[in-house]
Symmetry: D2
């Protein structure tokens, strides 16, 4: 089992190495009848694409996605959607020094120890380049969720010790894409940018975090216990490269709150249904969605590839040596991580929408009826 699959009913399977020929992603379980084009996917790919600003690697990858199957006349057919993204600008030469001398805190050593070998160009399979596949799959999930009235968005809420004040979901939607840092609070964004530039000059890098939120999630998503919504979000987010912490609702802070403070009383909504007065619970109660917005944070450590000199141990020569990771690298990860976190959030939610029967697994409702018969899954009596 080598970790390239995500999802129970909305299944994503990936392949590819940073400097390999291509990245690839197969999405199974997407219902038929969803209007989908390469453009829909490209939009999100462009948000995580390298070379989009001063604070991202200068590697020049167009990241053009090519859909190989699962689409007909602009709509999904319910069968697997195969996607391939060619790698264009790979320059492995710079990595030769590290073949047997692992870069500090990278996957170089662990991959070689596990497999006895590794694809070393650009970090190979351990490179964050893999997330191009996740974003491609996530874009499809987002389209399905939109049809169900579910909106989700993320933004960068902290870089180093610079933290953004709380901003509303509306503000995130309005401003997170307005600056290179992807922070929805313009003033903070500027300070973050300066801080990043400073570390970049020093040949160092810095950590940060991403805030995510989903609205319009119906009550009842998530299975009790091991497959709770929080457990599956935990897996999804902790899989994001460089993530060291996942929090939802009050997160880490909950340890200092009392029951009375944190508990959310019940009142009635306009439909006369029980609804919580506050949302300190973060939209999940007993592992199941409560109908309130789901929000949380993901912490990404500083990029491990830095120009500053570091010590490594060459297992071939048996010598210690100083090395500098030249290559082309990001000084900070959250800005490009925003679409990745959104993708993992979307993939987790769409899976539960299918698992709870809220999205029909065979076909969406607004599909083109061209070849339709009366045997609609939601019409078991064939009426």
């Amino acid at each position: 089992m080598n970790g390239n699959r995500f999802g129970r009913l909305f299944q994503v399977t990936t392949f590819g190495e940073s400097h390999g020929e291509a990245m690839g992603c197969t999405v199974s379980g997407c219902p038929a009848g969803l209007e989908l084009s390469e453009e829909d996917i490209q939009a999100d790919l462009d948000r995580r694409k390298p070379g989009q600003s001063m604070i991202t690697t200068s590697r020049g990858e167009p990241d053009d996605v090519s859909i190989k199957s699962g689409i007909q006349d602009g709509y999904t057919t319910g069968t697997p959607i195969g996607m391939v993204i060619q790698n264009k600008d790979a320059r492995s030469g710079k990595y030769e020094p590290f073949i047997t001398a692992p870069r500090p805190s990278h996957g170089d050593f662990t991959y070689s120890a596990k497999f006895g070998t590794r694809n070393w160009g650009g970090g190979g399979r351990s490179s964050a380049r893999e997330t191009v596949n996740w974003v491609a799959a996530g874009a499809i999930a987002k389209k399905l969720l939109e049809q169900e009235g579910i909106e989700l968005k993320a933004h960068v809420n902290q870089i180093g010790d610079i933290e953004a004040p709380e901003v509303s979901f509306e503000e995130i939607k309005a401003h997170s894409e307005e600056n290179d840092v992807r922070c929805a609070h313009p003033e903070t964004a500027e300070q973050m940018q300066e801080l990043i530039a400073q570390y970049q000059e020093e040949g160092d890098s810095i950590g940060g975090s991403i805030y995510f939120e989903a609205q319009g999630v119906p009550v009842g998503l998530g299975a009790p216990r091991f497959d709770s919504l929080s457990a599956r979000l935990g897996q999804a987010m902790m899989a994001v490269p460089a993530t060291t912490a996942f929090e939802f609702g009050l997160g880490r802070e909950a340890r200092e709150w009392t029951g009375k403070e944190r508990n959310d009383d019940w009142e009635f909504d306009s439909d006369g249904n029980p609804t919580p007065v506050e949302n300190d619970h973060g939209g999940i109660q007993g592992g199941i969605s409560s109908g309130e917005p789901i929000y949380g944070e993901v912490t990404l450590h500083a990029p491990t590839s830095i120009p500053k000199s570091q010590q490594t141990a060459d297992w071939e020569t048996g010598e210690l040596k100083e090395e500098q990771v030249i290559g082309r690298h990001d000084p900070v990860l959250p800005p490009r991580g925003v679409p990745v976190v959104e993708a993992m959030l979307a993939l987790t939610l769409v899976d539960f929408m299918l698992l709870s029967g809220r999205i029909n697994p065979d076909r969406v409702d607004d599909q083109p009826g061209e070849y339709d018969t009366d045997y609609h899954p939601s019409n078991p009596n064939n009426e």
Copy 2:
């Protein structure tokens, strides 16, 4: 869950439609260090390739496989192996009459009813063209099994009412590829060929069966009950297009045998280990491999695409009409099914070899040590 995945530890994920842009297959769980090239895979692809003889469709597909990831310096890296096979010779025009008028006993109607739409060119996702992916994955499984001393082979043992006499495993290896029918018994092969030609002239097609055998399978493969070796072989073989029956050991005939007749007494082998005197049990006892050869049969019904006129019902016009499936089709399936059955047998066995710990999931032993360290999985004490 839309059925494009096979295997628990040796995982195959596929995509592609008969007349789509490309077929694709991602293999996860293949240990690192296996010497592997596109040629290794091509050899088997050429055996199932169309246009290889008079009794196969004339569709001209080179079926060249392109490996996109998971290989370095000619060896697997333990990470996903992405493969793509372009579709070259697709002519969908001929299928237009069937878009709303399903071909008899095809998947046309069921796919459209389930998904509300379907990729209709050449049968789309329901086409046996999908098996090109299975054969590609199976070729990798075969290489792994060979290293463990496991050999497997299949041949066509019946076409229509012409049945081949029992032949030995050695004969199958020696003769099954010598004729277009892939029957290891030359005289029978000739009769089969004549019979096929006759039906072909009549614009009809005919059914048949494939015999498979695996030797060198160690004792202990298969998990009790639902994941028994026979249960998983059952799933694997019944997934082969057009299969209507799966049998192992005595198969259907076992219903007429008594316990005393069928039971295999025990004796000792040269190592002093218990070994069955006969192999009426087909190499599986209590769902677990006994160390004896595993053998069985798969029945494939006649191709459903025939030039002979048949009646269909057009759900758009509401009219009944006579139609002839022109296209380019095989008059019989087993000859091209042989490598497919071998592939499913190999995929099932290699999965159990990994599940039983007989093949190391991280890396094979004879791998290139170039980047090796002392942390070999089979060396937990790091000695």
Copy 3:
């Protein structure tokens, strides 16, 4: 992975050995609101229970099921249903001679070789006693299917060389439980009974087969390719103890039919939907249900435990010896196998009903509304 799980969404997990303290089965994925009692389950357990007639083992097991969770006020709650069935009449003494001297064609040797040990009393985990769990889970699946208008039934259609003529689904429902052999054709049942008695006297046993059929299955069940309805039925049925062959539709006979003969033309049903003129395809086309009855056969070899003397090899003493399996055994398996085959058919179908969205995974519709709110999964807008 040790094979005690079945189902993707309707999940069955089992434990227990023939002479252990108890058998147990946990069913997850059964929607809330299904009226269910121990009596519903007991009815089927009594059909497979030992000691019910002259032609079954005399072992005296009441097989009383005890539901430990998942039910409240007579309805399922949507959470796991834990069931335990105590073993009462275990007499392991008779098995001591076989601890190191495997019974011919049993799982004794393969289990010991795989695990290095085994629970030897009564065959331990390899005993068909395990199927008591399957029948318990199957009874729940049947109740769910009945609510969807799906009926299924099996009967014994062959014992040794005595084969029953074709009988209708109505006849099977009417007569299969009228005789000890569970053959829906009374005259044939008598001959079968005589044949069985004859082998029983000789201290031998005999094989046979079971015919199964399901009606009311909607169009569209089954996922393309590896998870086709036929592939999953193949796994389910090949898991049934002593099964050596699985066939559906024409089964093995399909090898002798031409395309023109086997293909089923299309006409229109009273609703104006396409429907096949015949059902030679067995209710499955392209791996997906066609709406026609699903039918097939399962072959069970003769019981391996026979009083007749057989040779075994004792791996402790290194000696060959003659042994007789005294114990208490069935002379033939199909009569008690009928409810087991029905259970596996029901478990396979209910799983696909959930996977296709036809059965709501969270709750059935006719549930008691006592604690209901308006947030019904099938009511995403909470109207």
Copy 4:
């Protein structure tokens, strides 16, 4: 899929409600030959048992585990281990007021909304009582890990605003069980106890956190990407009731560290293998274990059941009302959560030990050879 399963190869399946008849857990995939008794499991169950001190609920549950299968002569047989724990001291009466008036921040509302009903006694399936199953399964995992030289331990490192100073693994092993709070730093433990008592008097509750650490974990556990060690730990820990945050290594703090600060240089260990100078990476690099200790923290919010009056909305009467959760409840969760977190850590690690081939899936090495033959899985050539 209703969330009662954990693990890929070491599979845990659970059932049971807080006030139901019994809790149950089936463990599949435990190799044969592990010495195991009910006492081994009871030891950990007693650590999470209610009524063990002033700061735990007074509910009187002996939590005696009964093993129903999978063990013979004191050793595992490689087949499923069925365990049942009876519920003895259930008093549901106190919960009647909440049937249609959900307790604030409990699972009452979400369960009822999802399933249309729920087992309301004591929280039913959503109760933390479920973790008795996890601890039982975890105890088996721990025994397997110990044989491989892997040790793991947890302790309470924060309650409210009282945080314990950093303590060594040795100190945790020595002192965490010495006080009711399970904090390995005695002085802090006292302060925590006072704080808890204070909130308890006020009829309120308080949050806290658990620190966990595993030593002796070999290099190479974890699959790249979605199944990385950190991703699977994320799922495991976020499934722990009341968890709102999971962190490993520097966790949330990593957002303020630079790459140079956080990166761990390489040196050589005494065997000449590369080893990190520090362990800021928390034992996981590129999602794979580095051989360094794995450590992290889990935050548990305050218990939601408090005597203090809170507002709820009764969906039957449509009235708002004040309610007090009388029942018998814990004022703080971490003390009893320690064995639960250890269990989830053990279950995650043992699964990867099996997945990486480090633990033989069929049988451990030091098993009793009584029924052994020479066909050892680790001896494919049967030598």
